[in-house]
Protein backbone atom coordinates (compact mmCIF):
# COMPACT_ATOMS: atom_id res chain seq x y z
CA UNK A 1 0.00 0.00 0.00
CA UNK A 2 1.39 3.34 -0.98
CA UNK A 3 0.81 6.00 1.62
CA UNK A 4 3.30 8.63 0.66
CA UNK A 5 3.64 12.02 2.27
CA UNK A 6 3.44 14.55 -0.55
CA UNK A 7 4.95 17.97 0.02
CA UNK A 8 5.14 20.46 -2.83
CA UNK A 9 4.58 17.68 -5.34
CA UNK A 10 7.35 15.45 -4.04
CA UNK A 11 6.63 12.09 -2.36
CA UNK A 12 8.29 10.81 0.77
CA UNK A 13 7.97 7.36 2.33
CA UNK A 14 8.79 8.56 5.84
CA UNK A 15 6.49 10.90 7.73
CA UNK A 16 9.14 11.71 10.30
CA UNK A 17 11.27 14.82 9.76
CA UNK A 18 14.33 15.16 11.95
CA UNK A 19 16.48 18.09 13.04
CA UNK A 20 20.25 17.80 13.05
CA UNK A 21 21.09 19.94 16.09
CA UNK A 22 22.22 19.14 19.64
CA UNK A 23 23.84 15.75 18.96
CA UNK A 24 27.10 14.73 20.62
CA UNK A 25 28.96 14.68 17.31
CA UNK A 26 28.34 14.21 13.59
CA UNK A 27 28.67 10.43 13.84
CA UNK A 28 25.82 10.32 16.35
CA UNK A 29 23.82 12.70 14.16
CA UNK A 30 24.21 10.34 11.23
CA UNK A 31 23.40 7.22 13.27
CA UNK A 32 20.24 8.81 14.67
CA UNK A 33 19.14 10.06 11.26
CA UNK A 34 19.64 6.56 9.83
CA UNK A 35 17.71 4.93 12.69
CA UNK A 36 14.84 7.39 12.24
CA UNK A 37 14.41 6.47 8.60
CA UNK A 38 13.82 10.13 7.80
CA UNK A 39 14.24 11.52 4.31
CA UNK A 40 13.97 15.19 5.26
CA UNK A 41 16.49 16.76 7.62
CA UNK A 42 16.44 20.31 8.88
CA UNK A 43 19.61 22.38 8.96
CA UNK A 44 20.41 25.86 10.22
CA UNK A 45 22.23 28.55 8.28
CA UNK A 46 25.05 30.19 10.20
CA UNK A 47 28.12 32.34 9.64
CA UNK A 48 31.20 30.30 8.80
CA UNK A 49 33.99 30.44 11.35
CA UNK A 50 36.69 32.74 10.12
CA UNK A 51 40.24 31.45 10.11
CA UNK A 52 39.52 28.32 12.10
CA UNK A 53 40.29 24.80 10.91
CA UNK A 54 39.48 25.17 7.25
CA UNK A 55 39.57 21.40 6.94
CA UNK A 56 37.44 20.38 9.89
CA UNK A 57 34.52 18.12 8.89
CA UNK A 58 31.12 19.62 8.31
CA UNK A 59 27.58 18.36 8.70
CA UNK A 60 27.35 18.00 4.94
CA UNK A 61 30.17 15.44 4.97
CA UNK A 62 28.03 13.23 7.21
CA UNK A 63 24.66 13.96 5.62
CA UNK A 64 25.34 14.47 1.91
CA UNK A 65 22.63 16.62 0.29
CA UNK A 66 22.36 13.99 -2.45
CA UNK A 67 21.07 11.44 0.10
CA UNK A 68 18.56 13.61 1.94
CA UNK A 69 16.13 16.40 1.28
CA UNK A 70 17.52 19.35 3.16
CA UNK A 71 15.11 21.63 4.93
CA UNK A 72 17.03 24.81 5.78
CA UNK A 73 15.40 26.68 8.64
CA UNK A 74 15.33 30.21 9.99
CA UNK A 75 15.87 29.21 13.61
CA UNK A 76 16.95 32.16 15.69
CA UNK A 77 15.33 34.76 13.43
CA UNK A 78 13.13 37.29 15.19
CA UNK A 79 12.01 39.34 12.19
CA UNK A 80 10.58 38.66 8.76
CA UNK A 81 13.57 40.43 7.19
CA UNK A 82 16.13 38.22 8.93
CA UNK A 83 14.20 35.09 8.00
CA UNK A 84 13.94 36.13 4.35
CA UNK A 85 17.67 36.97 4.16
CA UNK A 86 18.57 33.65 5.77
CA UNK A 87 16.49 31.64 3.31
CA UNK A 88 17.79 33.54 0.29
CA UNK A 89 21.27 32.54 1.45
CA UNK A 90 20.08 28.96 1.97
CA UNK A 91 18.70 28.84 -1.53
CA UNK A 92 22.04 29.94 -2.95
CA UNK A 93 23.94 27.64 -0.60
CA UNK A 94 21.96 24.57 -1.66
CA UNK A 95 21.91 25.22 -5.42
CA UNK A 96 18.55 26.91 -5.93
CA UNK A 97 16.90 24.74 -3.29
CA UNK A 98 13.34 25.95 -2.68
CA UNK A 99 11.89 23.78 0.10
CA UNK A 100 12.41 25.64 3.37
CA UNK A 101 11.22 25.79 6.95
CA UNK A 102 10.13 29.26 7.96
CA UNK A 103 10.10 30.05 11.63
CA UNK A 104 10.10 33.51 13.13
CA UNK A 105 10.39 33.62 16.87
CA UNK A 106 8.85 36.17 19.17
CA UNK A 107 10.52 35.57 22.49
CA UNK A 108 13.96 34.22 23.44
CA UNK A 109 12.76 32.50 26.61
CA UNK A 110 9.79 30.57 25.31
CA UNK A 111 10.78 30.51 21.61
CA UNK A 112 7.10 31.15 20.91
CA UNK A 113 6.53 32.02 17.24
CA UNK A 114 5.78 35.58 16.16
CA UNK A 115 2.88 34.96 13.81
CA UNK A 116 2.62 38.46 12.36
CA UNK A 117 6.27 38.42 11.30
CA UNK A 118 5.83 34.83 10.10
CA UNK A 119 2.94 35.87 7.86
CA UNK A 120 4.88 38.84 6.49
CA UNK A 121 7.86 36.62 5.66
CA UNK A 122 5.69 33.89 4.14
CA UNK A 123 4.13 36.37 1.72
CA UNK A 124 7.53 37.48 0.39
CA UNK A 125 9.02 33.98 0.25
CA UNK A 126 6.07 32.45 -1.59
CA UNK A 127 6.22 35.31 -4.11
CA UNK A 128 9.93 34.57 -4.62
CA UNK A 129 9.20 30.95 -5.46
CA UNK A 130 10.11 29.30 -2.17
CA UNK A 131 8.19 26.20 -1.06
CA UNK A 132 7.47 27.23 2.49
CA UNK A 133 6.84 24.78 5.30
CA UNK A 134 5.85 27.12 8.07
CA UNK A 135 6.24 26.71 11.81
CA UNK A 136 3.47 28.47 13.68
CA UNK A 137 1.30 28.50 16.78
CA UNK A 138 -1.68 26.16 16.98
CA UNK A 139 -4.10 28.96 16.06
CA UNK A 140 -6.43 27.60 13.35
CA UNK A 141 -7.06 31.03 11.82
CA UNK A 142 -3.35 31.78 11.45
CA UNK A 143 -2.86 28.31 9.97
CA UNK A 144 -5.59 29.01 7.45
CA UNK A 145 -4.06 32.38 6.53
CA UNK A 146 -0.66 30.75 5.98
CA UNK A 147 -2.29 28.21 3.70
CA UNK A 148 -4.05 30.98 1.76
CA UNK A 149 -0.73 32.76 1.28
CA UNK A 150 0.53 29.64 -0.50
CA UNK A 151 2.65 27.77 2.05
CA UNK A 152 3.13 24.10 1.11
CA UNK A 153 2.76 22.76 4.66
CA UNK A 154 1.68 24.23 7.96
CA UNK A 155 3.53 23.10 11.07
CA UNK A 156 1.86 24.04 14.34
CA UNK A 157 3.62 23.46 17.63
CA UNK A 158 2.46 20.66 19.90
CA UNK A 159 4.14 22.53 22.74
CA UNK A 160 7.09 24.89 22.94
CA UNK A 161 10.37 24.20 21.11
CA UNK A 162 12.66 21.96 23.12
CA UNK A 163 10.14 21.56 25.95
CA UNK A 164 9.21 17.91 25.39
CA UNK A 165 5.82 18.71 26.92
CA UNK A 166 3.94 16.71 24.33
CA UNK A 167 0.63 17.53 22.69
CA UNK A 168 -1.00 20.14 24.86
CA UNK A 169 -3.93 21.10 22.66
CA UNK A 170 -5.08 18.21 20.49
CA UNK A 171 -8.37 20.03 19.89
CA UNK A 172 -6.75 22.94 18.11
CA UNK A 173 -4.56 20.59 16.10
CA UNK A 174 -7.68 18.70 15.06
CA UNK A 175 -9.40 21.88 13.91
CA UNK A 176 -6.31 22.82 11.87
CA UNK A 177 -6.08 19.33 10.35
CA UNK A 178 -9.76 19.22 9.47
CA UNK A 179 -9.76 22.52 7.63
CA UNK A 180 -6.34 22.40 5.93
CA UNK A 181 -5.88 21.15 2.38
CA UNK A 182 -2.08 21.18 2.69
CA UNK A 183 -0.15 18.77 4.93
CA UNK A 184 -0.23 19.61 8.64
CA UNK A 185 2.86 18.50 10.54
CA UNK A 186 3.43 18.83 14.25
CA UNK A 187 6.68 20.69 14.74
CA UNK A 188 8.10 21.10 18.24
CA UNK A 189 7.11 19.80 21.63
CA UNK A 190 7.13 16.06 21.05
CA UNK A 191 8.97 14.42 23.95
CA UNK A 192 8.59 10.67 23.53
CA UNK A 193 7.31 8.06 21.12
CA UNK A 194 3.73 8.09 22.39
CA UNK A 195 3.54 11.85 21.72
CA UNK A 196 4.50 11.23 18.10
CA UNK A 197 1.94 8.44 17.80
CA UNK A 198 -0.79 10.67 19.23
CA UNK A 199 0.07 13.42 16.73
CA UNK A 200 -0.23 10.93 13.87
CA UNK A 201 -3.47 9.47 15.25
CA UNK A 202 -4.95 12.96 15.22
CA UNK A 203 -4.38 12.90 11.47
CA UNK A 204 -1.16 14.86 11.18
CA UNK A 205 0.63 14.28 7.89
CA UNK A 206 3.95 14.06 9.71
CA UNK A 207 6.00 15.03 12.72
CA UNK A 208 9.14 17.13 12.87
CA UNK A 209 11.38 16.76 15.89
CA UNK A 210 14.92 17.30 17.07
CA UNK A 211 15.37 17.55 20.84
CA UNK A 212 13.18 14.52 21.59
CA UNK A 213 15.79 12.42 19.81
CA UNK A 214 18.98 14.37 20.47
CA UNK A 215 18.32 14.84 24.20
CA UNK A 216 17.24 11.24 24.84
CA UNK A 217 19.66 9.21 26.93
CA UNK A 218 20.20 7.04 23.87
CA UNK A 219 19.42 9.20 20.82
CA UNK A 220 19.85 6.41 18.26
CA UNK A 221 17.49 4.10 20.13
CA UNK A 222 14.96 6.93 20.48
CA UNK A 223 15.23 7.70 16.76
CA UNK A 224 14.17 4.11 16.04
CA UNK A 225 11.33 4.39 18.55
CA UNK A 226 10.11 7.57 16.85
CA UNK A 227 10.17 5.87 13.46
CA UNK A 228 7.93 3.09 14.77
CA UNK A 229 5.66 5.50 16.65
CA UNK A 230 5.07 7.64 13.57
CA UNK A 231 4.34 4.53 11.50
CA UNK A 232 2.08 3.04 14.17
CA UNK A 233 0.24 6.31 14.67
CA UNK A 234 -0.28 6.69 10.94
CA UNK A 235 -1.64 3.17 10.56
CA UNK A 236 -3.86 3.64 13.59
CA UNK A 237 -5.25 6.82 12.03
CA UNK A 238 -5.84 5.13 8.68
CA UNK A 239 -7.41 2.09 10.33
CA UNK A 240 -9.94 4.25 12.16
CA UNK A 241 -10.33 3.74 15.86
CA UNK A 242 -13.30 2.00 17.47
CA UNK A 243 -15.93 4.17 19.06
CA UNK A 244 -15.31 5.02 22.71
CA UNK A 245 -17.97 3.74 25.10
CA UNK A 246 -18.12 4.01 28.85
CA UNK A 247 -18.88 0.27 28.97
CA UNK A 248 -19.94 -2.46 26.55
CA UNK A 249 -22.19 -5.48 26.92
CA UNK A 250 -20.43 -7.04 23.93
CA UNK A 251 -17.52 -9.21 25.10
CA UNK A 252 -14.82 -10.24 22.65
CA UNK A 253 -15.34 -13.96 23.27
CA UNK A 254 -18.46 -15.90 22.25
CA UNK A 255 -21.34 -15.84 24.71
CA UNK A 256 -22.50 -19.28 23.55
CA UNK A 257 -20.89 -22.71 23.98
CA UNK A 258 -20.01 -22.15 27.58
CA UNK A 259 -19.37 -25.30 29.63
CA UNK A 260 -21.65 -26.49 32.38
Amino acid sequence: MSDALVIAGKSYESRLLVGTGKYKDFAETRAAIDASGTEIVTVAIRRTNIGQNANEPSLLDYLPPAEFTYLPNTAGCYSADDAIRTLRLARELLDDHRLVKLEVLGDPNTLYPNVTETIAAAKVLVKEGFEVMVYTSDDPIIARQLEEIGCVAVMPLASLIGSGMGILNPWNLQIIIESAKIPVLVDAGVGCASDAAIAMELGCAGVLMNTAIAAARDPVLMAGAMKKAVEAGRESFLAGRMAKKLYSASPSSPTTGMIG
Binding site: G19, I50, S58, A90, E92
Partner: protein, 71 residues
Protein backbone atom coordinates in the same frame (compact mmCIF):
# COMPACT_ATOMS: atom_id res chain seq x y z
CA UNK B 1 49.92 55.49 0.08
CA UNK B 2 48.05 52.92 2.11
CA UNK B 3 47.48 49.67 0.31
CA UNK B 4 44.71 47.20 0.95
CA UNK B 5 41.31 47.93 2.33
CA UNK B 6 39.06 47.08 5.19
CA UNK B 7 35.79 45.19 4.88
CA UNK B 8 33.41 43.63 7.37
CA UNK B 9 33.05 39.86 7.15
CA UNK B 10 30.49 38.16 9.39
CA UNK B 11 30.46 41.18 11.63
CA UNK B 12 34.25 41.34 12.04
CA UNK B 13 36.60 43.88 10.47
CA UNK B 14 39.03 42.30 8.03
CA UNK B 15 42.07 43.96 6.48
CA UNK B 16 42.60 42.81 2.91
CA UNK B 17 46.05 42.81 1.32
CA UNK B 18 44.89 44.44 -1.90
CA UNK B 19 42.36 46.99 -3.10
CA UNK B 20 41.60 44.91 -6.15
CA UNK B 21 39.96 41.79 -4.81
CA UNK B 22 36.99 39.88 -6.07
CA UNK B 23 34.69 37.78 -3.93
CA UNK B 24 36.52 34.79 -5.40
CA UNK B 25 39.85 36.15 -4.17
CA UNK B 26 38.39 36.72 -0.73
CA UNK B 27 37.06 33.16 -0.61
CA UNK B 28 40.56 31.90 -1.50
CA UNK B 29 42.14 34.29 1.02
CA UNK B 30 39.86 32.80 3.71
CA UNK B 31 40.72 29.25 2.62
CA UNK B 32 37.08 28.51 1.85
CA UNK B 33 37.63 27.39 -1.72
CA UNK B 34 35.55 24.31 -2.49
CA UNK B 35 33.51 24.67 0.70
CA UNK B 36 29.74 24.86 0.39
CA UNK B 37 29.11 28.47 1.32
CA UNK B 38 26.82 31.29 0.32
CA UNK B 39 27.78 34.95 0.24
CA UNK B 40 25.74 38.07 0.80
CA UNK B 41 27.34 41.44 -0.01
CA UNK B 42 25.74 44.62 1.33
CA UNK B 43 22.43 42.80 1.65
CA UNK B 44 22.41 41.15 -1.77
CA UNK B 45 23.20 37.55 -2.61
CA UNK B 46 26.34 37.06 -4.70
CA UNK B 47 25.69 33.94 -6.80
CA UNK B 48 28.58 31.49 -6.83
CA UNK B 49 28.82 31.93 -10.58
CA UNK B 50 29.58 35.64 -10.02
CA UNK B 51 32.31 35.28 -7.37
CA UNK B 52 35.00 35.99 -9.96
CA UNK B 53 33.21 39.02 -11.38
CA UNK B 54 32.18 40.92 -8.25
CA UNK B 55 34.81 43.40 -7.11
CA UNK B 56 34.97 44.21 -3.41
CA UNK B 57 34.89 47.83 -2.24
CA UNK B 58 36.18 49.31 1.00
CA UNK B 59 33.69 48.98 3.89
CA UNK B 60 31.69 46.29 2.12
CA UNK B 61 29.64 44.21 4.52
CA UNK B 62 29.76 40.51 3.74
CA UNK B 63 28.02 37.55 5.25
CA UNK B 64 29.51 34.16 4.49
CA UNK B 65 27.36 31.26 5.68
CA UNK B 66 27.19 27.50 5.64
CA UNK B 67 24.79 24.79 6.81
CA UNK B 68 25.09 23.56 10.41
CA UNK B 69 23.10 21.22 12.62
CA UNK B 70 19.75 22.62 13.65
CA UNK B 71 16.08 21.90 14.16
Amino acid sequence: MKSGMQILVNGKAMQLPSEAMTVMALVEHMQLTGKRIAVERNGDIVPRSQFHAVQLQGNDKLEIVGAVGGG
